[in-house]
């Protein structure tokens, strides 16, 4: 009890240097965890947000572009595929589900994605969870200019059932490119925490037959999302050979997780830079703990000598000094978790609103254990020299009368 009391009072007596050290440890800890978790969790979140689809079939072009366009409503489409291409892959025996999509228009930057009724036909985006319209709404009629708006888009645009709108031509918002056709919102998609939340879903023909679109492309589509039957993963190899190696007209983006992994690996240099920065901040934090504990120990040399004179053995002084540095580490880690919660929330919100991917900052990651352990260990190591000085303290010198 006395040890804890002395540690607490010691920290309080040098509150400014203690606070600076705690803040630096928190910063180091927050950065270390953020760099590790956000990177790992972002990749996993993107993979989760593939909504259970294994592949994307589209026009000849970049696989990454197909995945980003087809699954995440990002980027442009590399081109169109025909209705026959769609039917061919849809009818393959090892294909479980398909979802054709058509992109090309927007409403004030929110993409319109054309699809068919398969979206509402018990299509699951994660195990046990299917796309469905919120109560009070309904799926669009494929032959009408109707829309089911994603939950995030509805919130962003302030739309509800009954809202009507004129779409704008192109994927980027151009106020001078508004279509004359009017669409009506007939339902809001229940939140899925996938990119489906941030688009406006309309019937395929609704997009294809808007004014200004090429009549020759009225039966074409931008891509088809494909899910293989369970246990039919060899199908991916077969179709990869058929479309990517033997064919020259289409591209099968498969496997999605690997393509997303390639995307993240492009940012490895940035991650390495962030890691180096995090390590540097951690080292600076350790130095600040050393400085705080060393100056605290020097200023309290007399106190330590008094403790010795009262019967405290040398090990007690070591424990008191190391306890102070460990306490700074623990307090810094607690604050660091708070900092990480803020960073995680900001990143989560950015990814959710801009890409529709839900990041889970508190999903299990070993860094959540080794990060704080590392910072506390660094703090204790930083306290080793002051502790050794306390151990070697001469009581008689420490108690010599003050000048």
């Amino acid at each position: 009890m006395m040890l804890f009391l002395l540690i607490r009072r010691g920290l309080r007596q040098h509150i400014v240097s203690t606070a600076v050290a705690v803040l630096l440890v928190a910063l180091g800890m927050g950065l270390v965890i953020s760099v590790w978790v956000v990177r790992a969790e972002a990749e996993q979140s993107f993979t989760r947000s593939a909504s259970g689809f294994d592949a994307v079939l589209g026009a000849r072009g970049s696989k990454l572009q197909l995945v980003l366009n087809g699954l995440f409503a990002q980027e442009t489409s590399p081109g169109n595929i025909t209705a026959d291409d769609y039917k061919e892959i849809r009818d393959l025996p090892f294909v479980d589900r398909t979802l054709p999509i058509v992109v090309g228009d927007n409403f004030r930057g929110v993409r319109l994605v054309g699809t068919n009724m398969d979206l509402f036909n018990n299509l699951d985006y994660s195990p046990g969870q299917v796309y469905h319209v919120e109560p009070g709404g309904r799926a669009f009629d494929p032959d009408q200019k109707e829309a089911v708006v994603g939950s995030l888009a509805a919130h962003q645009l302030g739309w509800s059932i009954g809202t009507t709108f004129h779409p704008f031509h192109g994927l980027d918002y151009d106020p001078n490119a508004q279509h004359s056709e009017i669409f009506k919102v007939v339902g809001v998609l229940a939140p899925t925490n996938t990119p489906a939340d941030r688009v406006i879903w309309v019937p395929m023909d609704g997009v294809r037959q808007l004014g200004g679109h090429d009549p020759a492309a009225f039966t074409e589509m931008s891509a088809v999302l494909v899910r293989f039957k369970p246990g039919a993963q060899a199908a991916g190899f077969m179709l990869d050979t058929r479309y990517n190696r033997q064919g020259k007209r289409l591209t099968l983006a498969w496997p999605v997780a690997s393509i997303l992994g390639d995307l993240f690996s492009k940012f490895d240099w940035f991650e390495d830079a962030l890691r180096a920065l995090a390590y540097m901040v951690a080292v600076v934090a350790g130095a600040s703990v050393f400085s705080a504990v060393y100056s605290s120990m020097s200023a309290r040399k007399r106190d330590l000598a008094i403790l010795r004179a009262l019967g405290a053995h040398r090990g007690f002084l070591i424990a008191a000094v190391l306890g102070e540095s460990a306490a700074i580490g623990v307090l810094g880690c607690a604050l660091g978790f708070g900092l990480y919660a803020c960073i995680g929330s900001v990143v989560q919100e950015i990814l959710r609103t801009r890409i529709g991917v839900l990041l889970e900052p508190w999903a299990w990651n070993p860094v959540l254990v080794w990060g704080p352990a590392l910072m506390v260990l660094l703090s204790v190591i930083a306290g080793a020299i002051p502790a050794w000085r306390a151990y070697r303290l001469s009581v008689a010198e420490g108690l010599s009368p003050l000048s």
Binding site: L6, Q13, I306, A309, L310, G311, A312, H313, F316, P401
Partner: protein, 230 residues
């Protein structure tokens, strides 16, 4: 009278390293004793080695040779950690500069005196504060107390573990005459009440006059006697 002597010193020698590398003798005391429950003053001007002797008796410093026995325990035969433990359990020490921990309250400072020995107990610490008349200042920090009150807290800390020997090194050095007299009275009465022996080191005639037995360090320490002869 207590059959066990509170303090026995025999053939004590203490040296310090000189800048030249040789060792300089500062204490050479053939014999010194104090019976249990007795009170004595140790007279000596500054620089004669009073504090060094008190530190040796308390087990803070080790002599080069000789025997120091306190309350029947030979300190010179104990390891440093055993001496620490002995000091915490059996000795009370009052310093000239009070030596209270500024971050702790009066009660916590007194508890500190118990913590390394038989264990801190708030009731015992409070009783010690009550004995010196500071129970109502238990939760004050040292800076919120007068110098006299601070020294009384230091006395309470020295008494709390019910020591067999109380050492006070210039306990009135930082106090005026009136407050100094009160502290000496408090020390003497408390030691008598506890049955503890008391050894007060001082060069103040007022303090020395309060004791029947006064030990003159200048006579006792043969190093000093040799220097005076030469």
């Amino acid at each position: 009278m207590d059959p066990i002597p509170a303090l026995i010193i025999r053939d004590l020698v203490k040296t310090y390293p000189a800048p030249s590398g040789a060792r300089t003798e500062v204490l050479r005391i053939p014999a010194l004793g104090l019976q249990g429950g007795r009170q004595a003053a140790l007279r000596g001007e500054s620089g004669l080695g009073k504090t060094t002797l008190m530190h040796i008796i308390a087990g803070i410093l080790e002599p080069d040779s000789g025997l120091v026995s306190v309350g029947g325990t030979e300190l010179t035969g104990l390891s440093e950690s055993r001496r620490d433990r002995f000091r915490a359990e059996r000795l009370g020490y009052v310093f000239q500069t009070f030596n209270l921990l500024q971050g702790l309250t009066a009660l916590e400072n007194v508890s500190l005196g118990l913590a390394f020995g038989r264990g801190a107990r708030a009731g015992v610490a409070m009783a010690a504060l009550d004995r010196v008349g500071l129970a109502d200042r238990a939760h004050y920090l040292p800076r919120q107390l007068s110098t006299g009150q601070q020294q009384r807290v230091a006395v309470a800390r020295a008494l709390a573990n019910r020591p067999c020997l109380i050492l006070a090194d210039e306990p009135t050095g930082n106090l005026d005459t009136v407050r100094g007299g009160k502290v000496i009275d408090l020390l003497r009465s408390s030691a008598a009440e506890l049955g503890a022996a008391l050894l007060v080191a001082s060069h103040d005639p007022e303090v020395l006059g309060a004791f029947e037995q006064v030990i003159d360090l200048a006579e006792l320490n043969q190093v000093q006697a040799r220097e005076e002869e030469s």
